[in-house]
Amino acid sequence: MSPSTLSPTPTLSPIAFPDVALPESARRLRAEVRAFADEERARGTVLGRPDSWLAGWDPGFSRRCAERGWVGMALPTEYGGAGRGFLDRYVVIEELLAAGAPVSAHWVSDRQAGPSILQHGTEEQRRFFLPRIAAGQCFFSIGMSEKNSGSDLASVATRAERTADGWRLTGTKMWTGGAHVNDYAIVLARTDDAEDKHAGLSQFIVDLRAPGVRIEPIRLMSGEHRFNAVHLEGVDVPDGMLLGERGSGWKQVTGELAFERSGPERYLSTFPLLVSLLRELEQRSATAEQLVQVGILTARLHSVRQLSLGVAAALDAGHSPDTQAALVKDLGTRLEGALVDTVRSILPTPADSHATPGSHPELLAFALLHSPGYTLRGGTNEILRGIITRGLEQH
C-alpha cells in the first residue's frame, strides 16, 4: 500500500467529549447532598443497596428530596422547579446513587416526564404536572415497550382511536416500572397508520387509575415486583392529555434518549457493592492482587464517569450528543455487570438472597439477580453499538 492510497485520516469528532469543569455551585451542592445522605442513612432509609433507582421505592424519601429542591431541579422556577442547571442535577443524582439511596419513586418523573412535559407539553399540562413533580407528589411511569417492541420501538401496536372529545387507548405495555404504585404513565401509541413506521406515533399522559387500566405484575428473577404489564382496555384519555404533537411521538421519544442514556445511573447501579467489598476487605487487610483488581475497577469507574460528565456538559451547553450517550451507556452498563463479577472474584463469597439484609452476600445476590437487566434497559447494547458506528459514518 502506498501513501497515496491511504484514505484521509477520519476525525474522532462524533465521539469527542468536551472537557468538564463543574461550577462552584455544584461543589457546594455535593457537600449538601452528602450530608443529607448521611442523615438519611442514620435514620435507616439509605441502605446502600445496588440498583436503587429501580428498586429503592420510598415516596417519603422522594418528598424529603423534593423539599430540598432536588426533584425536578432543572425545571424553571415558574413551574415549581429549582431552575438549576443540568450539571447541578448530575451531582445530586450521582451522590444519591453512589450512596444507594431509594430514588425510584421520583426517578422517571425527574429524569423523563418533567423535562418532556416542559419541552412538549401544553401550558396547561406544565402548570398542572410540573409543580406536582417538583414537590414529589406526582410519580410517573413510562409506557413505551411492548411484547414485540423493545429496541424496535417503531413497531408499537398500542392504538389510540379518535373519540368525540379525546382518544381511546387499546393495547398492552410491557416492563412498565412502578405502574402499580405510580400516578401516571406516558404512553406511546399509534394514532395514524403510515407507510413510515416512525410516523403516526403519539404520546399520551395516562392516569394509571383510570377505568380500563389493568395492571398485572411481571416479577423479576429475584421475585421482586418492580415491573408490570399495563393492559389498556379501551382507556379514555381526554384531548388535553395528548403530549406534544399528534404524529410526533417518535421524534419526541428519541429526542430524550441522550438524557436517558448517559446519566450516572448507567455506571453506578452496582457501585454500592464495591463499597461493600471495601468494607469487607478492611476487616481482613487486602492482598496485593486484590488491590490491583480494585484499582483497575476504580480506574475504569473514574474514566467512565469522566465520559458521562462529558455528555452532561454537552447537554448543558445545548448540544444533543446522541452518539456519545450511546457510547457511555454501552461502556457504563457493561461496567455495572463486570463490577459484580470482579467483586465476586476479588473476594469469593457465595451470593445469598436470604442472608442478613445489607450484608455482603445479600447485596451480591441482589446485584447478580439484577445484572442481566443493566445491558437491556433503555436499548440493548448491541443496538447502541450500531448507533456508535453510524455516528462515525455520518460524520
Binding site: 484514505s7 477520519p10 476504580t298 480506574a299 457510547l327 448491541e382 450500531g386 456508535i388 458506528t389 459514518e393
Partner: protein, 362 residues
C-alpha cells in the same frame, strides 16, 4: 542505529519524507529548532502542523501535543522532553538544555559525594563539601538516550533523593529498543563524576512528581496511539469490501469497531481529566494513577480489535497499523504498568473514601 536517530543525534533534525512502510520510516517529521529549543512536529501527509507549546505552556497544551505525537508515532522524545524532563529541571532549579531530553527514575545506582565533608553531621558521607557526585551503575532502558542532549536522572542516594543530569557521551551506551524499535538504551556509569552544577538534592515529593509526570506523558502517548488505531481501522473497514459490501456494513464488524472506539474514548478522557491539574499538586495523584492504569489496561483490547478488523494486512509492515500497536504494547509497560498504578490507586482507598476520591475531580 537507525538513520533517523542518527540524524537526531547529529543535528536534532529529522526530515524523512519516506512513505509509511516500516518502523524505520515515518509519515512524520520532527524538527528541533535551535531558537528557543521549541520542538515542532509537522506531519508531511496532513496539511496541519502541530507546534509543541512553548516551555511555559499549560499541562493541557503539553498533553495535547504529546497525544498528537503518539498518534503520529513521532520518532523523537517529544513527550519525554516537554512533559517530563523540562518541567523537572525547572522544578529542581537546573538550566534546561536545548534539544531532545530524556529521563530515568530511581535506578539502582551507587552514589556518593566526590568531596565528603571532613566533619560530617549525622551518618558518615551524608554531607559533602559541595554537591559533586560520584555515580556508578547502569541506567536501564533510557528512552531515546542515544539521541538526547541530556538525560535527567532521579535517584535515591544515601543522603536522600537526588536529581542530576548527564550527557550520553559520558557513559558507555548499549543500544536497546522496545517492541516499536524506539531506542531504549542502557547507560553504564563507572565512577562518573557529576559536577555540582548539574546536581540538586530534591524532596521525596519531587521524586514522586517525576513518576507521575512520566506516567502522564506515557498515558497521553498511549491515548494518541489508540486514536491512530481507530483512524486506521475505520479507514480500513470503510474502504475494504468483502462479499460485495464494505466491512463496516457487517454487524459483527460494527460491534467490534464500537468497542474499539469506546475503549479509546475511555483512555482519552482519563488523560483529559488530568489536563487541568498540576502534576505536582495534591489532586493529581488519583487522576494520573487512574489515567495510566486505564491506558495500560486498555492497550491490549485496542490493539486486539484493530488487528482483528485489519485482517492479514495488519500483521505486516506494509500497513502503518504496526507503528501504533507495537507502541501500545511497549508503552503500557513503561513508566509503570497497570498493576503498579492500580495498586497505588487502590492502596489508600476505604469504603468511606472511595466515592469522595472518585469525585475529587472535576
Amino acid at each position: 542505529m537507525n538513520t533517523h536517530t542518527a540524524a537526531l543525534m547529529n543535528t536534532h533534525t529529522i526530515d524523512t519524507n519516506a512513505p509509511v512502510i516500516s518502523a524505520d520510516a515515518y509519515d512524520t517529521t520532527a524538527f528541533y529548532t535551535d531558537a528557543g529549543a521549541v520542538p515542532t512536529v509537522t506531519n508531511t501527509t496532513a496539511p496541519d502542523a502541530v507546534a509543541l507549546p512553548s516551555p511555559g505552556a499549560s499541562t493541557a497544551q503539553l498533553l495535547a501535543a504529546a497525544q498528537e505525537a503518539g498518534r503520529r508515532s513521532v520518532p523523537a522524545p517529544l513527550a519525554e522532553t516537554a512533559l517530563v524532563a523540562r518541567p523537572l529541571l525547572r522544578r529542581a532549579g537546573l538550566p534546561v538544555p536545548d534539544g531532545p531530553l530524556s529521563y530515568t527514575i530511581a535506578p539502582e545506582l551507587t552514589i556518593r559525594y566526590a568531596h565528603p565533608a571532613p566533619s560530617p553531621v549525622g551518618s558518615a558521607g551524608c554531607l559533602g563539601d559541595d554537591n559533586t557526585l560520584l555515580v556508578t551503575g547502569t541506567l536501564r532502558r533510557v528512552p531515546w538516550a542515544r539521541a538526547a542532549t541530556a538525560v535527567v536522572v532521579l535517584a535515591t542516594a544515601p543522603f536522600g533523593p537526588v536529581l542530576f543530569t548527564l550527557t550520553p557521551d559520558q557513559a558507555s551506551l548499549t543500544p536497546g529498543a522496545n517492541l516499536a524499535e524506539e531506542p531504549r538504551d542502557d547507560l553504564h556509569l563507572a565512577t562518573l563524576e557529576i559536577p555540582a552544577s548539574h546536581v540538586r538534592r530534591i524532596s521525596p515529593e519531587l521524586l514522586d512528581e517525576a513518576r507521575l509526570r512520566a506516567a502522564l506523558a506515557r498515558s497521553a502517548l498511549i491515548a494518541g496511539a489508540a486514536e491512530r488505531c481507530v483512524d486506521l481501522t475505520v479507514a480500513h473497514t470503510t474502504a475494504r469490501t468483502q462479499f460485495g459490501r464494505p466491512l463496516s456494513r457487517f454487524q459483527a464488524v460494527k460491534q467490534e469497531e464500537a468497542r474499539l472506539i469506546e475503549e479509546t474514548a475511555l483512555v482519552r478522557t482519563a488523560v483529559q481529566a488530568a489536563a487541568p491539574l498540576d502534576p505536582g499538586g495534591p489532586a493529581a495523584h488519583v487522576v494520573i494513577a487512574a489515567a495510566k492504569t486505564q491506558a495500560s489496561a486498555s492497550a491490549a483490547e485496542i490493539a486486539r480489535i484493530a488487528h482483528q478488523l485489519h485482517g492479514a494486512i495488519g500483521i505486516t509492515q506494509l500497513n502503518p497499523l504496526h507503528l501504533a500497536t507495537t507502541r501500545l504494547w511497549s508503552w503500557r509497560d513503561e513508566d509503570g504498568d497497570e498493576t503498579y498504578w492500580a495498586r497505588r490507586l487502590a492502596r489508600p482507598l476505604t469504603a468511606t473514601t472511595l466515592w469522595p476520591t472518585l469525585t475529587t475531580t472535576p
